[in-house]
């Protein structure tokens, strides 16, 4: 996956590393299938607005996930009677998410060790 990652727009590339957005989308979809707008809302709320994700940048990421068959999409009607396109995570998406999360955690741990070795060893 990461190699298909096109460079993000100038505004988001500062904030997110490649693949992060996809990971967050998959995680949100694991909890609940939803459409693009709801996904944005969800991610912004969950991150307590710490992550400034430009709404539009969600769509290239969704297309990449669609293409890799990690999610599937279906047109439907929402509870508020809007026409929406609902995304749902696939089994392959679930597997991919687990792998990504564990590799992300390892990476995060590594970074933390480098940034703050004392704290890490005393732990």
């Amino acid at each position: 996956m990461p190699e298909v990652n096109k460079p993000m727009t100038e505004t988001t590339s500062r904030d997110l590393f490649p693949g992060a957005l996809e990971m967050m989308i998959l995680e949100s979809l694991r909890r609940q299938p939803s459409h693009g707008y709801a996904l944005v809302q969800h991610i912004q709320q969950r991150s307590k607005n710490l992550l400034q994700v430009e709404e539009g940048s969600l769509y290239p990421a969704l297309q990449r996930l669609l293409k890799s068959k990690l999610v599937k999409a279906q047109w439907g009607v929402s509870s508020t009677n809007r026409r929406i396109r609902t995304y749902q995570i696939t089994p392959a998406g679930l597997r991919h998410l687990d792998e990504q999360i564990s590799s992300f955690e390892r990476m995060f741990e590594g970074i933390a060790l480098v940034l703050n070795p004392a704290k890490a060893t005393s732990n």
């Binding site: 693009g36 940048s57 769509y59 969704l62 809007r82």
Partner: protein, 886 residues
Amino acid sequence: MNWIPDIFRRGKLYNDLSEEIRLHIEERAEQLMREGASREEAERKARLAFGNRTVQEERSREVWQWPTLESIWADVRLASRQLRRSPGFTMAAIGTLALAIGANAVVFSVMNAFLLRPLNVPQPQSLYSLQHGDAPDGSLSYPDYLDLRDRNRSFNGLMAYNFASTVLDTGNNPSSVWVQEASGNYFDGLGLQPYLGHFFHARDEHGPNSAPYIVLTYDYWHTRFEDDRGVVGRVVMVNKHPFTILGVAPPEFNGTLLFFNPGFFVPLVEDPLLTGDDLNARGTRWLFQAMGHLKPGVTPEQAAADLDSIGAYLQKTYPKDEGKMTFVLRRPSLYGDYLGRPLKAFMAGLMLLTGLILLAACANLGSLFAARAADRSKEVALRLALGSSRKRILRGLFTEATMISLAGGAVGLLSSVALLRALSAWQPIPSYPIHLAVNPDAKVYAVAVLLALVSGLLFGAVPVRQVLRTNPYEVVKAGSGRIAGRRMNAREVLLVVQIAICAVLVTSSLVAIRGLIRSLHDHFGFDIENITLAETDLGMAGYSGDRVPAMQKRMIGALQALPGVESVGLADSLPLTVNGSGDSIVFTDNTSDLRPVNAATDTAMFHISPEYFHAAGTTLLSGRAFTWQDDKSSPQIAIVNKEFARKVFGSPDRAIGHFYKMKDGTRIQVVGIAEDGKYNSLTEDPVTVMYLPILQSPSTSTFLVVRTRPGLDNSGSDNGQLQTATAMRNALRQLDPGLQVSIEARDRTLTAVLFGPRMATISLGVLGVMGAMLSITGIFGMAAYSVSKRLKELGIRVALGAQRKEVLQAALGRAFKLLALGSAAGLVLGLLATKVLAFIVYQASPRDPLVLAGVVVAMAALGLLATWIPAQRALSVNPLVLLREE
């Protein structure tokens, strides 16, 4: 690899995406409205929150695309849409480039065929021909050839050949055909295999006239024998002697001299029978050329040294016959340096000029592109503002440039192929088997495509800086009027360069054309008007000994009796014909050691009848003409030309009545002096010439020079010439029906001599016209553009009361200044360049006031022509309409 089904689903995918994004923004806006924002405010905020919708959408689509190829394809489609939107620009650009690339393809193809492509024989790279060290000429005597062949240690067999014009008769259908007399080892030495039957070999030669065999060329077999495979073994008559057809040479093999395609090959030892040359005469160099494959490891220099030592030996052994004999090795295909050097120089010059044409075309297109980019600066700025990258915009521009260059290249190549085909099929000189096989090959196509791409890059690169410096905010704010300023200068420089190049081309073509026209009106030492020639060889018709002069006298008498004929002269050869004349070394009277090294001069030699001078129109400066009494029984006499008198006797006055010596010691008295002329080529240095009475040294080769009365039966017009020719043919046929006579107007026979200069002039003329066309389009483009840019300014000027003159000056003054600058530079360069031309084009003098004036007038006329329409437009400016527009 699931991109293949993706391609077909793509339309739906993209639609879904757009819809989804639209709904997203809508939902956000509704949300904002619920929070109390006005509709407008909500929609604006929703769009802001979403970010650049176009970019995001494009990026989303890219996920599904096959990245590089597809974006190129998209560029191509965009570019073709842009180009279709301005068909005038597109056609002009493609046309310009097609001309330039076509010209380059033609010139390169000719150069490729003549200079780059090796001879069509196995291992052509080790095949070298012999050329004398002191002159670009390879002729040898037969004994010389045998000694060189047998004594050298450098060649794997030395071959030799000669050309002869013969009459072939396969049964009551005699027809003239050129034949190559080749040594017995010719085909084996070249490593060729027959297409049909077999070749003759070295073992077939047993002295003079011992091998009456024929090998047909494929082409001649095809045309004359209609591919009849039964010809092998058939006996045919050549010059009334029986010869057996052995076989047919492979297709595509037409002898080892380019241009000249003989009908068939006969063994060299048959030459005495066919042309009467003496195989044993060591002093007569009648063999055309000798050549051979170098042994492995031998360099051309080593081989030449080897041959030189044989030459020294021959000179020592046969001092009476041999002069200093040194050799250099050259390629056989263009007769060494004789054709090779001028052709190389000329082709190099031509390649340079066509290269300049292409450069001029690129400059032209470059400024067109720059103007186009300037016009589109608003569009570019908009695209930049909307988030397009500069790279993407440049790629678009280059795509347009490449598409135009490829289209232009294709059109140019196609037309050049048609032209080259025609050129290859053309037989420029009637009665000589001259062919210019210049069909293009893969190399030509590759070069054309390469040139197209390179020129696309060149002119596509012109507007790059302009795009890179575009500042979207400035452009959108300022309107289109402000992009002038410095950037115009790059285009102006291009225009000056282009005009200079075009002026070079116009100058050189004018110089060439002027030279040719002069050369046609020059006096060559004989008349051209009202002269018809009849050429025959009595030897081919079976005459020999005393029957020859008797028949010649009867022929003169018969033609003399024709109505309208003023006088008839006879000669064994004529100046400025392809065969040329015989030549001989001569000595001053007080030379006793008659070795070639002591010779006073090597002089051309014509055997003529008494009336020759009058009939040919050669002026006898002093002394007397020959009479029919000057025969074998009377003392040997000669008429010499002024150059001969000057060179052998010191001055023309001391020549008459005095003697000089021939090779064999014969003393010859000079009885007259004739004017100088041109004998072998128009560009030659003064040549020494002696005329000898035909009765003192008879020859079967017969040229009858028939002078008709001027004005009578409209001579000069084709019809008159035709009547004379028919009457002459009938008269001669009555004397002997078996005589093969070719009759031609004298000016026609100059075709061969003028062929080179004419081709040069035609090619230069074409290049000149192309140059002129390019400068017209260039100036027109520039003038039209600057007028259209400044229309508003001009309108204001008119409104403020400017006169027509002032308007014109404002609109076109700059264009004319550039034109003058470019023309002046081009004129100077052109004059320098034409020094090169002087080698090929007779009297191509660059310091010709007429040419100088011609160039100035031509360029001014081009300028006027090109600025006419823009000027009209500038003058018809209506300030009211214009000011209302913006």
